[in-house]
């Protein structure tokens, strides 16, 4: 038995750990194990990748299988990490169309969570880049899924949190890029309404994301820095960037060597950080400047094991999405409660999303707000209150980040749930696939 957790290190759960070395072994493990779920790189924050009894870890399913340089279509096994794909293909002029905030996720996990990036409002989610999947199902079958083949199961698997089977292989399309640089433009937003307006206007930018000051109050509530980005063309590079046109993504430069004590993050330390970060960022507003793709997309990947700053107790990321019409009122209310509580960390992100792809995909047209909280007394009750605001606004929470939402919150937020349950019953009639998350949310 192993003690497993997610990136937030809360909750932890005992589970037998299986590590199949071949696709055939992974297929057998999916059908012959009770209460099992696949786990990729363990970057889901909560309990999505902790098996109820056993966990099928895919790190040994890390082979790339085929690539076509004409179309950019790549086939890989489910345990291949996006970091590996980027290291291999960025120097050859290809980049995944959709990347999350860390490159250390597995492709199987990216499918299961239907991850989104800073371009969701323009390009859709990871599921939209898929050509096909090979899925090992609990009855021992190996199925090819696509929009035309086993289509229902395809849309249940994209965003399905591993509850339809184990993703053995994925075939998906990479985008051609001229360089590995992003032309970034920073916009200062003095409050939430300006931030939402800037993100909305940023519709014309391929990438947009806002860092939001979770401690600002009053007239400055929701003050933000908006980072817009466009893939840089070859002729837009300056002399420095031309020397390294694909600006290699560096390995982590720093490592958090120990768990910070629980009091390290407080209103004073986070407030000081936020003030400094905001002022430094605000100095770079105006003209666009070049940044390598690595730091632009994955700013925290430069610090290995950054989750340790939250201390041994772990942390929770609360990521919700709220439809556009209700966004300003609801997010404003959430932010003022968060600022009043005073222990949101400096990692707070606001983004615009478009429609979702899979039955349980997180995105919906609207705005998503992600806030990190160190685990402290009263936090769970506080987050339940925030959930009520989200549900009232017709929004929902991201399962890949979730470790604690109630079954009622979940059911209110995902209207395609009955359809998902129906497909799941057909593919897993004996209910073999079970994670802590699926048990908690009544999906098992």
């Amino acid at each position: 038995m192993s003690l497993l957790g997610g990136w937030g290190r809360y909750p932890l759960g005992e589970s037998a750990l299986l590590r199949p070395r071949s696709l055939a072994a992974a297929r057998a493990a999916t059908s012959d194990t009770e209460a099992v779920v696949a786990r990729g790189a363990g970057r889901a924050y909560g309990d999505a990748a902790i098996g109820a009894r056993a966990t099928l870890e895919t790190s040994q399913l890390d082979r790339m299988r085929a690539f076509d340089d004409e179309t950019g279509i790549l086939s890989v096994e489910g345990g291949v990490r996006l970091a590996d794909v980027i290291d291999t293909f960025l120097p050859r002029g290809f980049f995944p169309k959709v990347v999350p905030g860390t490159r250390f996720v597995s492709v199987g996990g990216a499918v299961a969570a239907d991850i989104h990036g800073k371009n969701h409002h323009v390009d859709g989610g990871f599921g939209d880049t898929l050509e096909s999947l090979t899925l090992a199902t609990p009855d021992g079958a190996q199925l090819r899924l696509s929009r035309t083949e086993n289509a229902e199961l395809f849309f249940a698997t994209v965003g399905g949190m591993g509850l339809t089977g184990t993703v053995l292989e994925a075939t998906w399309r990479l985008s051609k890029v001229e360089t590995g640089w992003i032309r970034q433009r920073t916009i200062e937003a003095a409050n939430l309404s300006q931030a939402l307006a800037a993100l909305s206007a940023g519709h014309s930018s391929t990438y947009s994301v806002a860092w939001i000051d979770g401690l600002a109050t009053g007239a400055r509530l929701g003050r933000s820095l908006i980072f817009l980005g466009e893939p840089a063309r070859r002729d837009e590079l300056d002399a420095r960037a031309r020397r390294l046109p694909f600006g290699a993504v560096p390995p982590p430069r720093y490592r958090i060597p120990f768990d910070f004590p629980g009091f390290a993050l407080n209103r004073l330390s986070v407030g000081a950080f936020n003030e400094l970060y905001y002022r430094l960022g605000a100095r770079r507003t105006g003209a666009p400047f070049l940044v390598p793709a690595g730091p632009y997309f994955f700013p925290l990947d430069g610090i290995a094991e950054w989750n340790r700053i939250y201390g041994r107790a772990g942390f929770i990321q609360h990521q919700c999405v709220v439809p556009e019409a209700a966004a300003e009122a609801t997010l404003g209310e959430i932010l003022s409660r968060v600022a009043a509580r005073g222990d949101a960390s400096f990692l707070a992100v606001l983004k615009k999303l478009g429609p979702g792809t899979g039955l349980l995909s997180f995105p919906m047209p609207g705005y998503t707000l992600a806030l990190d909280f160190p685990l402290r007394p009263g936090l769970l009750e506080f987050l339940d209150d925030l959930d009520r605001l989200v549900v009232a606004a017709g929004g929902r929470l991201y399962l890949a980040k979730d470790s604690r939402q109630s079954r009622a919150t979940f059911e209110a937020g995902y209207p395609d749930l009955p359809k998902f349950r129906e497909i799941r019953r057909a593919v897993d009639p004996r209910g073999r696939l079970r994670s802590r998350l699926s048990d908690r949310l009544g999906l098992s």
């Binding site: 070395r21 071949s22 082979r63 790339m64 085929a66």
Partner: protein
């Protein structure tokens, strides 16, 4: 000019990681092993990562009559060959089961030595090449817990040492690699000391470095050179009483 690497025993974890390391350094790669079916998966992987096709060859190091045809089929004759073939076996079984012990001895010594010897002939005729034999720290001194395997590795180490001596002034380098504890299929389920244990990709990267600088004897984790020096220095009348 692209250099070419041949990995023998490419289905092993160290073999695969070695091929990956060379491919990402720009080498063309050939893979050889017993189970060509499962090697196809490794060949695809390395071809996609390296951006050039990978050749696949069948070889069973216990079947020495197949060696000449195997060598003739390689196109081109590689610039470097790495032999990762090995079989740990089960020490207790090897003590009483002669056939099992024979397989361990032949897989770790006879097969790899004869095959690399055949490569040496071709490389010397050409006047260039690098031969890498993956041996083991277990060959540095026989111990009760693994001496059947260890003695075969000791023979292999001695063979490589002699071959290096013979080839040194004729353009052909011979490298002996002793990985120490590595997390692989071979050691799965064994209790390994964390501080002394490396992942297979570290061994792959070390082999690439060793080929580039034409090293002689490489302990992948340097601590092993010290540890084995100490173990070799213990007088036999004490050594024989130690629970090793």
């Amino acid at each position: 000019m692209t250099s070419t690497l041949l990995v023998i025993g490419a289905g092993s974890d160290i073999g695969r990681e070695t091929a990956r390391a060379f491919a990402s350094d720009g080498w063309a790669v050939q893979l050889a092993g017993r189970d060509v079916e499962s090697l196809k998966r490794e060949a695809d992987d390395i071809a996609v990562r390296g951006g050039r096709p990978v050749a696949l060859h069948h070889i069973d190091v216990l079947n020495s009559t197949s060696f000449p045809a195997f060598l003739d089929a390689l196109s081109p004759l590689p610039d470097a060959v790495v032999c990762v073939v090995g079989l740990l076996g089960d020490q207790a079984r090897s003590e009483s089961d002669i056939e099992a012990a024979t397989t361990v001895m032949r897989s770790n010594y006879e097969g790899p030595a004869l095959l690399l010897g055949a490569f040496a002939e071709r490389f010397l005729a050409r006047g260039s090449g690098t031969i890498v034999g993956v041996s083991s720290v277990a060959g540095d001194r026989g111990r009760a817990s693994n001496y059947v395997y260890g003695s075969a590795k000791a023979g292999f180490t001695a063979f490589l040492s002699g071959l290096r001596n013979r080839c040194a002034r004729r353009g052909v380098a011979v490298v002996t690699v002793k990985p120490g504890f590595v997390r692989t299929k071979m050691t799965e389920g064994m209790k390994l000391p964390g501080a002394l244990t490396i992942n297979a990709d570290v061994a792959g990267a070390a082999i690439l470095r060793a080929v580039k600088r034409r090293a002689d004897v490489v302990y992948v984790a340097p601590v092993w050179r010290l540890a084995m020096t100490i173990i070799r220095l213990i007088p036999e009348r004490i050594f024989k009483l130690l629970p090793l």
